[in-house]
Symmetry: C2
Subunit: 570 residues, 2 copies
């Protein structure tokens, strides 16, 4: 089989204007970026204000493994297959970060014959939204350090007199806003800034990957430009020397940040290999943000298509849970069905037994043990009152025996149904059965309910998540977390939903705990306020907000060929 | 008079496809970015391979002052006026950096009724080229630090065995490649990176503004994608522990860097307020790079228009000199005429006498003293064998007496002619006389010659520049510069042209030396190899490669209004 970029390069894309017209977007609502990408104006929401929302399907997966479960492949393949059986479908996915593209993971356009094309457009700059997030984020970082510099240089009284601005009295030990760059940059994780004459004061800072910026979560959760602007104003950048929050509004930088993101708020329309429409918008890093595409993209798609398919990062305990408890909390738009993606390999790797090297070999004992992980995810999703379809993403080496066993076992769960998907190898044709079942599932009466209410205490929200989603028996807060909790309550942030930041590689906080860990303590080490995004992050263990480059990074294979074409993207 | 952004907002732009068609660009050669911006494919150079080049005019100025001489206003106004008198004209200007946009200077789209529109599109993301430069630059920084980390962690033998790559043996004290960000970021000028567990080794780094990246100079000097790719490969990122250069090619990151810049190599077409075409491409920071727009943009424009007008950063000793000795050296395309922009204010401020606060007041004594500065710049340009036209950019408060005196004095110089330009207040109509004179000048027999040959020694090239352009009597090299000079000679870099990095605010290296400093020593503190861009930077004194934000930064005024429109950009 050909590589992803070969398949993408050999495909003749339709003009994006055709895709837009078919979907019901007017020419005046499009800003073209060449022939294969277009941003869609938010004015379309006014025109379609009275249109009712279509069915919304959210794709999630079992606990992720290093082999890749194929969640985006299934999302795109399902969208293609829906179109093939005559349903007006549309996908909404996140914009990939360039860090992993040049690191190890490769792109995020799907793969094989279930791709968004041209894949190199999606995986590189797209229409500049991630660059806008980096730029707006780093303007705030520059602004806070510059303000600190001038206030310290002049003293706050002379500063006030000379600048005409109210001093902020920033505590250099409590600058909460780091910098961002869209690369895997280990050496910038923790840095000291402000060396050299007249550049100080020297203080600690660091870089996160751009997808981990609170601004990325704000982009994903905003309903319109006014909402984006006011959320940016609420971001807490630092504390002053009295421990009080300093917001982007107080610093006077919120307007400029919103201006830099003025175009980023419009989602980008592209197409799949089968010509189905796909919106790409926002890409908040799943284990430190809420891991879902934007409310705006969903909103537009749901007024245009009959079925909209989106995905949440990692397993049902991660992006899916945050979809239901954070994104729905902001949008009011509830899902109608969910797809849980699974592979035979993933179940074996999640079994907690056997060697990681032998996941390709038939092994019913491991499969049985790993099945519990799938069952947990099916139960997780069912708790929200929506039907679950299991998509078994088939690899070429999978045996019919094991697949048959798995499908049989799924009939004994709460799942609405299951189907083997061969979208990677066969495109739409490999997922038509899946499409039919998912379509049926969306027509069931759905009884969606979130897991907790905003009025619950922070501890109660957390306990609900740790017990029901992660299977923990108890939750413990570090001393630091206890202090931060008091501060959050004092400052009126208790009503916010909780975004747990934990490893995605286990249901628990510990990537080594495979299978279905039960009866353990779930430790919260720290809270982080995202007042602009509108959630409180609870950190469980050490969570990386900046990946690193490995021994043989992906960039080694990427180049430009004799015809000036891009090669080597995976 | 209205503000720049008000004028821009109230103007109804023509579809950029109309501008392109009028200029002779085929639809298939355009990549649209909305209705007002389009990238132009380099394939146009094949189609127009046999077209002869049009006339090329380079706009420069007297020694810059804080008041602004209006070089871009004159460039755009002249292009508009040429069109108005029936000449097929086109401008080529640099892409503005967002640092100054949100810092103090404001945008770089021209101003008043001589603007490129929409100005906010030009001044913010444009078509993403600066973001691409930042991203490609920072990938190389991440790559070199990651390689250092892995080689130090494993030891070079184990590294070679496990990675299959030849160890580079990087000297952490000699990493020459810093990071970049497109903001005014004082606190990142000098930083220490690599703190925290497994992120090391700790070493010094820092950020320049993106416009100061060698990649920006490479973008400006490349002739095509192959040239760009091979220049990137030649960049020296670090020295190894034996003092030998390590290139981007050796690190294996050059291909990926070129891929990130794959679209940036195409210039962007926009329009002026009068519908004249304007290419925007590259923006190398004038006092540390060569300060001119790209060879590719010039090349395309010169095959399409009859007169192409471009500008070099700062005075004739800076961007103009580098145009003639670096850009022409790479392109082989020589200018046919030059425009030196001057204002009454600038001459008074350059007089070396009187108070800076009184530059608006009539003062013939100061004007006479300052006139020498203009004469020096006229002589500078004349040395290259091309005709000089002086454009007097009129301010409302300028008196007729002083303007008449100035025009009379100019007749006694080597200038081909002069004209008062009122392009800011009147657009094309304010510069038609200037356009006529410049057009006449381009029809003179031109005898362009550069100031030195590649075969001259580095010392000789430098001596030529310091004597003829800056009026110095001697040149001195610091010990460090002496050592670096030996290294450059040993490693075969002596044939490269020299890019002197000095203050633009004086003809000399010292911003306090106003007027026409003579008989002084010009001190070179350091050399910096830009092997990819293909020049050696010679640093004279302390030159800022990263601006800072002032007491009341420009961002304070920028916001989004009730109609979601951008306001407050200057």
């Amino acid at each position: 089989m050909q590589s992803d970029i070969q398949i993408s390069n050999q495909h003749l894309c339709l003009p994006i204007t055709n895709i837009a017209t078919d979907l019901g977007i007017n020419a005046s609502e499009l800003t073209l970026f060449g022939n294969t990408k277009a941003k869609v104006s938010l004015s379309i929401l006014n025109r379609l204000a009275k249109k009712t929302h279509a069915k919304l399907v959210i794709v999630t997966a079992v606990t992720p493994t290093p082999y890749g479960e194929g969640k985006t492949v299934t999302t795109i393949g399902l969208t293609q297959a829906m179109k093939a059986i005559g349903i007006n479908s549309c996908a909404c996915i996140r914009q990939p970060s360039m860090g992993p593209v040049f690191g190890t993971k490769g792109g995020a356009a799907g793969g094989g014959y279930a791709q968004v094309v041209p894949m190199e457009e999606l995986n590189l700059h797209l229409t500049g939204d991630i660059h806008a997030v980096s730029s707006a984020h780093n303007l705030a970082a520059a602004a806070i350090d510059a303000r600190l510099y001038h206030e310290e240089r002049l003293g706050i009284e002379a500063f006030a007199e000379q600048s005409g601005l109210a001093p902020l009295n920033i505590d250099p030990q409590n600058i909460l806003w780091k910098r961002v760059v869209d690369h895997n940059e280990r050496s910038l994780r923790q840095i000291e800034v402000g060396f050299g004459e007249m550049n100080g004061p020297i203080h600690t800072s660091g870089f996160d990957i751009t997808a981990a910026s609170e601004l990325m979560a704000i982009l994903a959760l905003s309903k319109n430009m006014k909402d984006l602007r006011s959320r940016i104003g609420r971001i807490v950048l630092a504390l002053n020397k009295d421990g009080q929050p300093i917001t982007a509004e107080q610093l006077g930088v919120a307007g400029a940040m919103a201006v830099i993101m003025h175009d980023a708020i419009e989602p980008t329309l592209m197409q799949t290999l089968s010509g189905a429409p796909c919106f790409i918008h926002a890409g908040p890093f799943a284990n430190i943000a809420h891991g879902n595409s934007s409310i705006i993209a969903d909103d537009i798609a749901l007024r245009l298509a009959d079925v909209v398919i989106t995905e949440g990062g990692f397993g049902s305990d991660m992006g899916f849970e945050k979809f239901c408890n954070i994104k729905v909390n902001n949008s009011g738009v509830t899902p109608d069905a969910s797809v849980v993606v699974v592979t035979l390999k993933a179940l074996k790797a999640n079994s907690g037994i056997g060697s990681e090297k032998c996941v390709n070999e038939p092994d019913l004992k491991r499969l049985k043990a790993g099945f519990k992980n799938l069952e947990w995810h099916i139960d997780n999703v069912s708790r929200y009152g929506i039907p679950v379809v299991v998509a078994i993403n088939r690899y070429p080496e999978d045996t019919d025996d094991e697949l048959t066993w798995l499908q049989q076992k799924i009939t004994q769960t709460k799942a609405f149904g299951s189907s083997i998907s061969e979208a990677f190898a066969k495109g739409a044709a490999g997922a038509t059965h899946l499409a039919e079942i998912v379509n049926l599932a969306t027509q069931q009466q759905s009884h969606f309910k979130p897991l907790y209410s905003n009025d619950d205490s922070i501890e109660s929200k957390l306990m609900t998540l740790t017990e029901l989603m992660y299977g923990a028996a108890n939750m413990t807060l570090s001393d630091k977390a206890q202090q931060q909790l008091s501060w959050l309550k004092q400052h009126g942030y208790e009503h916010l939903p909780i975004c747990v930041s934990k490893t995605p590689m286990s249901l628990s906080h510990d990537p080594k705990l495979k299978g279905i860990p039960r009866g353990y303590d779930f430790p919260i080490s720290e809270f982080k306020l995202n007042a602009g995004a509108g959630f409180i992050t609870a950190l469980a263990g050490k969570v990386m907000t900046m990946p690193g480059l490995g021994l043989r990074p992906g960039y080694l294979d990427v180049d430009i060929d004799e015809q000036d074409k891009i090669i080597g993207l995976a």
